[in-house]
């Protein structure tokens, strides 16, 4: 296997607050290969966005801090780079799109200016080259009448069009890795599928790696190759999409899948996993999922289970799963 595009090792992120330290991400490791889509799933507050922001060292400091870990992009450790070198990576080798495309675009600059900025900064294109390239990029992401759109402002565009603009901006320098943090959550259902298809199609076309953050397991099933499930800042399970859907080993993953199935069967009746994510200041001493876990055994409340390899590329953090591979 060739070296992965992204290799994250033992990443931990903390936030200081008046109530104490929040360990938003703990000891998180995963890797993404060329042309691969890795989905990061988990309930709200599980640390998905924090992990994504940490990859580009965009955690606001204070209050945040990347307390440990390495982020290797094609073998180069981003944590060891100078600020200036890091800026050369952001937007060029690793680009990001966000949940709310209205908020993520600057309201007072034209689309051309905002996409063009990346081209000028990283590729040193001239003014006329920029306009041509912006139009080309807008066409690539399926924005109709790109010449006209380029001169408009974000408020002139619909939500779906804005997200396409964000994608065009992210792809401007053909990055090796695209991070998409809930790219469709803020969009209409009909537009969601279009935007996902677009990301998927462009990934194939440009051969980049994608880190897709989402709540929606339907999206995972359709677009991802592998899945990392996070709970309370930690990875609790990893596997291919097939493995996770056919044979979820962690009770939390099973809960997520169960909730998703119910949602499908009866749109109105939202079945959720009982209980709520523990407060970051009152983490249970043993397995963080224990208070909500229907299968918990006494051992679970005493110690945190280790993340165990149960098969190649397949990991689970649960006492019960450790033996199950054999039986």
């Amino acid at each position: 296997m060739s070296a992965p595009v992204l290799d994250v090792r033992s990443l931990s992120v903390e936030f200081e607050s008046t109530l104490g330290t929040v360990h938003a991400v703990r000891d998180l490791s995963f890797s993404i290969g060329e042309g691969e889509t890795l989905a990061l799933v988990g309930e709200s507050g599980s640390g998905k966005s924090t992990a994504a922001m940490a990859l580009l060292r965009l955690i606001p400091n204070p209050p945040g801090r990347i307390s440990s870990g390495a982020v290797l992009l094609s073998g180069r450790d981003l944590m060891a780079l100078s600020e200036a070198d890091l800026r050369g990576v952001r937007g060029r080798e690793m680009a990001m799109i966000f949940q709310d495309p209205m908020m993520a675009l600057n309201p007072v600059y034209t689309i051309e200016r905002q996409i063009g900025e990346v081209l000028r900064l990283h590729l040193g294109l001239s003014k006329s080259e920029i306009l041509a390239e912006v139009v080309e990029l807008l066409r690539l992401v399926g924005v109709p009448a790109p010449e006209e759109r380029a001169r408009q402002y974000p408020h002139n565009l619909s939500g779906g069009m804005r997200q396409r603009v964000m994608i065009a901006m992210a792809l401007a320098c053909r990055p090796r890795l695209l991070i998409a943090d809930e790219p469709t959550t803020a969009l209409d259902v009909t537009v969601q599928a279009q935007v996902l298809d677009l990301i998927h199609g462009l990934k194939e076309k440009l051969g980049m790696a994608v880190l897709l953050i989402t709540h929606d397991l339907g999206i995972v099933a359709e677009t991802a190759n592998r899945v990392v499930v996070m709970y309370a800042g930690r990875k609790v399970e990893e596997g291919t999409v097939g493995e996770i859907f056919a044979d979820p080993r962690h009770p939390y993953t099973r809960g997520l899948l169960g909730a998703a199935k119910w949602e499908e069967a009866d749109g109105d009746l939202l079945r959720e996993i009982p209980g709520t994510v523990p407060s970051p200041f009152e983490m249970p001493s043993g397995c963080s999922f224990a208070p909500r876990c229907a299968e918990a055994i006494p051992l679970c409340r005493g110690a945190m289970p280790e993340l165990k390899d149960v098969a190649p590329g397949r990991q689970v953090r649960c006492f019960l799963a450790e033996g199950r591979g054999h039986g």
């Binding site: 965009l58 993520a104 600057n106 309201p107 600059y109 002139n156 901006m169």
Partner: protein
């Protein structure tokens, strides 16, 4: 000019008309409501306030006609910029004002530009160093300036720069009798402008510094700043483009609102520095109870404020495309 921009400008221009009419009507009412009319005052001033003489004056001024007729006549005269005569100086009011207005405009525009530009720069610098020593020093300095009365500041500046150091003139608008022309004249006026413009503008520098700092910090919390960082832009570029452009909006709005205050402040500063603007004229008109002159100045000042607000709105439209396209 783009169609949307043109429509925006036109719309704003049309809005000015009723405002100016309202000011004129208000002015007229003041003239009527003042105890005793111009005829009384004039007759009194001339020293023979007999009933017959006052009545004669009244007929001369048309003060014996019905109110609505007087109003129409008044408005008709306004259209031709006829603001009546200054009773005491026996000169058309408009001539007196036109004579003094440029000096006041120069002072006001310099003060507001100084305040906005310096305030924005310091505000951005402070926001980028939030909570650090430089930020705290700026906050303290802004508070001190904010609390300093303008006339005291003016006098202190005169004492320091004109009397002690002798590097800046203490008053006037140009060197008397030097007869500079062209560039030399401009430089001479600029030279005389430094102290009064600083005195008038410094208070507003403090205000805009604090506002710009707060506005920048708010903008820094918005998502598109994260986008800008994720693009690879440096903090300097983000501060002076993406963040500043958005953070400017409240500052421009406030500057528009404060132009009226600034005009009021310039009356004081002009008096301290012997600046030959409207302020001194107001002072004289007040002392001599020259009602026509006073109301003329009031009217023209209001129009200046309305036009200044129009300019500010247009600037705002340039800064924020959402306004123009609404």
């Amino acid at each position: 000019m783009k169609k949307a921009t043109f429509q925006f400008v036109l719309r704003r221009l049309l809005q000015v008309v009723p405002v100016v009419l309202a000011i004129a009507a208000f002015n007229f009412l003041l003239l009527r409501l003042a105890p005793g009319d111009a005829a009384d005052i004039l007759a009194g001033q001339m020293g023979h306030a007999t009933v017959e003489f006052t009545e004669q004056l009244r007929r001369e001024f048309g003060l014996d006609r019905p109110l609505y007729q007087q109003f129409l006549i008044y408005m008709g005269k306004l259209l031709t910029l006829d603001l009546g005569m200054s009773h005491l100086q026996q000169t058309p009011v408009i001539d007196l004002i036109v004579d003094r207005l440029p000096a006041t405009l120069i002072l006001m525009v310099s003060a507001i530009l100084l305040a906005v530009i310096v305030g924005i720069c310091i505000g951005i610098a402070a926001a980028r160093r939030q909570g650090r020593l430089a930020d705290n020093l700026i906050s303290v300095a802004a508070l001190l300036v904010y609390a300093t009365p303008a006339f005291w500041l003016g006098l202190m500046l005169i004492v320091l720069f004109s009397i002690k150091l002798d590097i800046l003139p203490s008053g006037g608008m140009m060197q008397i009798g030097a007869g500079h022309e062209g560039l030399a004249h401009v430089l001479d006026v600029t030279w005389h402008l430094i102290l009064p413009a600083t005195t008038l503008g410094l208070f507003y520098v403090a205000i805009y510094t604090r506002l710009m700092r707060a506005s920048m910090l708010e903008v820094y919390g918005l998502d598109f700043i994260v986008t800008a960082r994720a693009k690879g832009l440096s903090e300097g570029v983000i501060a002076w483009t993406h963040a500043m452009r958005n953070a400017l909006l409240p500052v421009v709005t406030l500057a528009g609102v404060q132009i009226g205050h600034l005009l009021g402040g310039s009356v004081l500063v002009e008096t301290v520095f012997g600046w030959p603007g409207l302020g001194r004229l107001v002072f004289d008109a007040l002392l001599q109870r020259d009602l026509n002159l006073l109301l003329g100045i009031l009217f023209i000042s209001s129009v200046v404020v309305v036009i200044a607000n129009l300019v500010v709105d247009l600037v705002y439209g340039l800064l924020d495309p959402r306004i123009v396209h609404r």
